[in-house]
């Protein structure tokens, strides 16, 4: 039972409550009658903000309409961006084409990798915007559905390209070789003392936790060198060592650092002292010498087996987008890309090798790994076998990685 005192207390509280509510009501009633403003000013202000915003966007992204046809080229974000002057490289490479055929070439570097380009082409399949796509490599072309997005085309000047590249890339000519490179492991020179095995590196060496923990590679789903590394691993284990390829991944799974793409992998590898070795390209040493002079800071460690060195050759190609807006111009563009003008710029801007025979390379390329110095893994892991197994290999890889 409540005592009288507490009853009293409660009623006092009640009064306080009432009192407070009253005050609040008065205050809120007053604030609910604001000064009467003309609604037109508010509406006008909102409209002005909206118009200014739309106008600025339109001005920023405005491209003057032109009488000339525009050829749209889809490529990945780092295309030809590694040279002396990435801002003018497209003018240098494709300006002569624009002049000769009185057109505009728009290189659209999509903010993604080659897989993302395919996905974009798939999205736009019913109403394509792009005429040409550059950057589909000799593995990506084997993925199901990719050739449905392209029209086969054999350039008139295809004889300037060694047939090895055509056979490695696509004998059916859905894509035409543009450049090629060797995907291999590279190491920091100052790590060599700690790990002399870099001179004759095997996958078995890499299972040592100290080395596996120092290895940076890329996600095979989103990165073409990453996928090349996976195929290197599969080819070496299945074809040379004749063991199950999954064992190695299971062994290193806890330690290995898999980054989404090449740029991410490079920055982790470069910034972290404990990361000794990275999956990259055989031209990295040449890049270092070209830009910083002296001796390269990095060494190349192709996989060693039974007295031979092995590497995967990546051939990047260009293709005609199926039902693209300017098919004739697109064909001319592909022919043009095999010319000396474009091919001679590949080495020091893209850090790949040109596919055109007889192009003179920069002296820095003497520090690059050349195809003649290694056995190509492409030759022991054939195209049909990759095409048949790629999806299941990637699924198995995922299963290993996420468990």
């Amino acid at each position: 039972m409540l005592s009288l005192q507490s009853k009293l207390f409660i009623s006092v509280c009640n009064i306080t409550v009432l009192y407070n509510t009253d005050i609040r009501m008065v205050v809120s009633v007053m604030s609910e009658y604001p000064e009467r403003r003309d609604p037109r000013t508010v509406v006008a202000a909102v409209a002005i903000v909206a118009i200014i915003a739309v106008a600025s966007i339109v001005i920023i992204t405005f491209r003057p309409p032109s009488e000339k046809p525009t050829l749209v080229v889809y490529t990945y974000d780092s295309f030809m961006q590694w040279g002396d002057d990435p801002d003018t490289i497209f003018e240098l490479a494709f300006g002569p084409f624009e002049e000769r055929f009185d057109c505009i070439v728009r290189i659209e570097r999509l903010q993604t990798d080659a897989n993302g380009i395919i996905s974009r082409l798939g999205t736009e399949q019913s109403n394509p915007v792009a005429d040409v796509v550059i950057g589909i490599d000799n593995i990506l072309i084997l993925q199901s559905g990719v050739t449905d997005l392209l029209t086969a085309y054999e350039p008139s000047n295809i004889d300037v390209v060694n047939s090895t590249f055509i056979d490695a890339l696509d004998p059916n000519h859905y894509i035409v070789p543009f450049d090629f490179g060797l995907v291999t492991l590279i190491y920091k020179n100052n790590s060599l003392e700690m790990f002399p095995e870099f001179n004759n590196l095997t996958f078995a060496d890499l299972t040592d936790p100290a080395l596996a923990g120092g290895l940076v590679t890329q996600n095979p789903h989103f990165s073409s060198p990453g996928l090349a590394f996976l195929l290197t691993e599969i080819a070496v284990h299945e074809k040379l060592l004749h063991v199950n390829w999954t064992d190695w991944w299971i062994a290193v799974n806890e330690y290995i650092d898999v980054q989404p793409g090449w740029s991410e992998a490079w920055s982790v590898w470069y910034d972290t002292p404990s990361k000794h070795i990275m999956n990259s390209y055989g031209t990295d040493g040449a890049y270092s010498v070209y830009f910083y002079g002296g001796e390269p800071e990095t060494g190349i460690a192709p996989i060693y087996y039974d007295g031979d060195y092995y590497a995967w050759m990546q051939v990047e190609g260009m293709g005609l987008v199926k039902n693209g807006p300017n098919p004739e111009l697109a064909e001319l563009f592909i022919d043009y890309c095999l010319n000396e003008t474009v091919q001679s710029l590949i080495a020091t801007n893209q850090w790949m090798f040109p596919v055109r025979s007889g192009v003179v390379l920069d002296p820095a390329f003497e520090y690059a790994l050349h195809p003649s110095e290694v056995s190509l893994l492409n030759e022991i892991l054939a195209r049909p076998e990759i095409a048949a197994n790629l999806t299941s290999w990637l699924d198995t890889y995922d299963e290993i990685r996420i468990t």
């Binding site: 409540l2 507490s6 409660i10 509280c13 306080t16 409550v17 407070n20 609040r24 604030s31 609910e32 604001p34 009467r36 403003r37 609604p39 903000v49 915003a53 600025s56 966007i57 920023i60 992204t61 749209v72 990435p86 801002d87 659209e108 570097r109 999509l110 903010q111 993604t112 897989n115 993302g116 996905s119 798939g122 999205t123 736009e124 019913s126 109403n127 993925q143 199901s144 559905g145 996600n219 789903h221 989103f222 650092d257 898999v258 980054q259 989404p260 793409g261 740029s263 991410e264 490079w266 920055s267 910034d271 002292p273 404990s274 699924d395 995922d398 299963e399 990685r401 996420i402 468990t403």
Partner: protein, 547 residues
């Protein structure tokens, strides 16, 4: 008269029509196409794959663990906020919302700085042990993901539960005390039943956000830990539309179930009004034991919640690799060239402003739809409002691209799509804030206006809209924060010329341009914070009610 009714219905139905055209239709069409025509994995293969099952269990597991952590850490905070008498409480409440509206990718930046490799905690430990290399990295893998989700959602619980606590009539508690109830009994039989609905609602929202999480998992998961959303993104990116659609369907079914229970809970709460007095205590009125607990809690809170935000300021000027302070991050934001930050900054602001205006303009009729007496319409409106929260942003973006943009030829400059995607993401928040304001309008005022001869337009512009102004402003700011922080859809749609700050922060982090990422993140935080302060000043109300 006929015309007027038609216009009125047109205005009110417009958001539903737009949502149907820009959200439901593209998503349904894309999912149907993906499931039926592919290319890629079939539905059966996708759901029976071990990878999908692992990803699905991980998505659930991390969301459950994060939600439990959020409730455990958030509840004491809610009590403190409701019961402790402190100065500047409304400012505190406003700043509590900040972590929640921060773009997830910005959270990642602050988070890495505090908990990551060579981060603040790591550096402290390194100096203590004299180590030269990083020893503690809490910002990757499962731990990183769960911690980041916790940081992100604690404010939800604090704000929602504390406002429920403030509605608890102190008399009931006093009566219980007088009748001899212990603190535990009081909590069990009075407080808990009272906050149950709001706690559940906050937990469901937290779970939903963690379940749908994308940028945090993408940045911290190292490709090994994936939520369904990350897997969907992977599938779209690698041209496996079959798998993407299958996973998106599973995801939508789960989120719809969650969203439905959230709406149900929202109904229960509606009756409650804030009581006039709230039982509060000053800090020196509580016992020593509780004072120590309070201080302990505040320390944990500052490290986990305030730490990452403060660290963003440091990340903006400090290069952890060269150990130097620099202003390069900010100069980068003024650099108009390729890879510079000026264009993304301008894009971010322009897109977000437009998306905010649209979200508000659409949010007003949507809020009115909640109030109509027509049977079924309020439920439809609630469902449509929440839909953008439950459908993966990646799927929306892909649907917009394929179904809307490609046939119209918009893909060469897809800024319109980005604005639409950002509007959709802000709409649930703007509509809800406006609806809450609408609830508080006294119907008598409107009747009086009518009897005094005001026309419908006069009534709308001179009475209703001014009364709705606080809700509109609060909703606008929420929508703005959501829009400017949107990353997933923009990442998918944007060409180089359309990138926004949220997208470049992700790209900078990838290539370890930490200072550039930090400076961009700092600018985003500053913009959001200023917007919130402005709302507090303008509306004089706490914007947290909008949740």
């Amino acid at each position: 008269m006929e015309w007027r009714i038609l216009i009125r219905w047109g205005a009110i139905a417009s958001p539903l029509v737009l949502l149907a055209v820009f959200l439901v239709y593209p998503v349904v069409a894309v999912l149907f196409e993906g499931l039926v025509f592919g290319p890629g994995t079939s539905f059966i293969d996708a759901i029976s794959s071990m990878v999908t099952q692992t990803v699905l269990s991980f998505t659930f597991a991390q969301a459950i663990v994060s939600t439990i952590l959020v409730v455990i850490i958030g509840l004491p905070g809610a009590f403190l906020l409701a019961r402790l008498r402190i100065r500047g409480k409304s400012l505190l409440r406003a700043s509590l919302i900040v972590p929640f509206v921060l773009p997830p990718i910005v959270v990642v930046v602050g988070f890495l700085r505090v908990f990551g490799e060579y981060g603040i905690l790591d550096s402290v430990l390194m100096t203590m042990t004299g180590a030269s290399e990083s020893i503690l990295n809490l910002a990757n893998g499962v731990v990183g993901i769960v911690l980041a989700h916790t940081f992100y959602n604690i404010p939800l619980v604090i704000v929602m539960v504390s406002s429920a606590l403030e509605r608890l009539d102190p008399e009931i508690e006093e009566t219980a005390e007088i009748l001899g109830a212990t603190s535990l009994q009081k909590f069990r039989y009075i407080i808990l039943p009272h906050i149950r609905a709001s706690l559940l609602a906050a937990s469901i929202l937290t779970f939903l956000f963690c379940f749908m999480s994308f940028p945090i998992v993408l940045a911290l998961g190292e490709g090994r830990f994936m939520t369904l959303e990350v897997r969907i993104w992977n599938a779209f990116r690698t041209f496996d539309f079959g798998e993407a659609s299958s996973l998106a369907v599973i995801q939508i079914l789960i989120t719809l179930a969650l969203a439905y229970s959230y709406i149900k809970l929202g109904r229960i709460e509606e009756g409650n009004v804030r009581t006039a007095t709230i039982k509060t205590l000053a800090f020196d009125e509580i016992s020593l034991k509780w004072r120590i607990c309070t201080i302990g809690y505040l320390v944990l809170f500052v490290v986990l919640v305030a730490g990452p935000i403060i660290a963003i300021a440091q990340a903006a000027v400090y290069n952890p690799f060269s150990n130097q302070y620099t202003l390069e991050g900010f100069t980068n934001l003024l650099d108009p060239g390729t890879g510079g930050g000026l264009l993304p900054l301008v894009n971010s602001l322009l897109y977000a402003v437009l998306a905010t205006l649209l979200a508000v303009v659409l949010g007003i009729p949507l809020a009115y739809l909640h109030r109509t007496r027509q049977k079924g319409l309020p439920t439809l409106a609630s469902a449509m409002t929440l839909l953008p929260l439950g459908v993966s942003a990646i799927t929306v973006a892909y649907g917009l691209m394929r179904i809307i943009a490609v046939p119209l030829g918009l893909t060469t400059n897809p800024w319109v799509l980005i604005v639409i995607a950002q509007t959709l993401i802000g709409l649930p928040f703007s509509a809800r804030a406006i609806e809450i304001s609408l609830r508080n309008i006294d119907p008598e005022v409107l009747e009086q206006a009518e009897s005094l001869g005001a026309s419908q337009l006069q009534r709308l512009f001179y009475i209703e809209l001014p009364l709705l102004a606080p809700g509109i402003l609060a909703g606008g700011v929420f929508a703005f924060a959501m829009a400017i922080g949107e990353m997933s859809a923009t990442l998918f749609i944007a060409l180089e010329q359309n990138t926004t700050l949220a997208v470049v922060i992700y790209q900078y982090l990838g290539v370890r341009r930490m200072v550039d990422a930090g400076a961009a993140a700092f600018v985003l935080v500053a913009i959001c914070f200023i917007a919130f302060l402005a709302i507090e000043k303008l509306s004089g109300e706490t914007s947290g009610g909008a949740l």
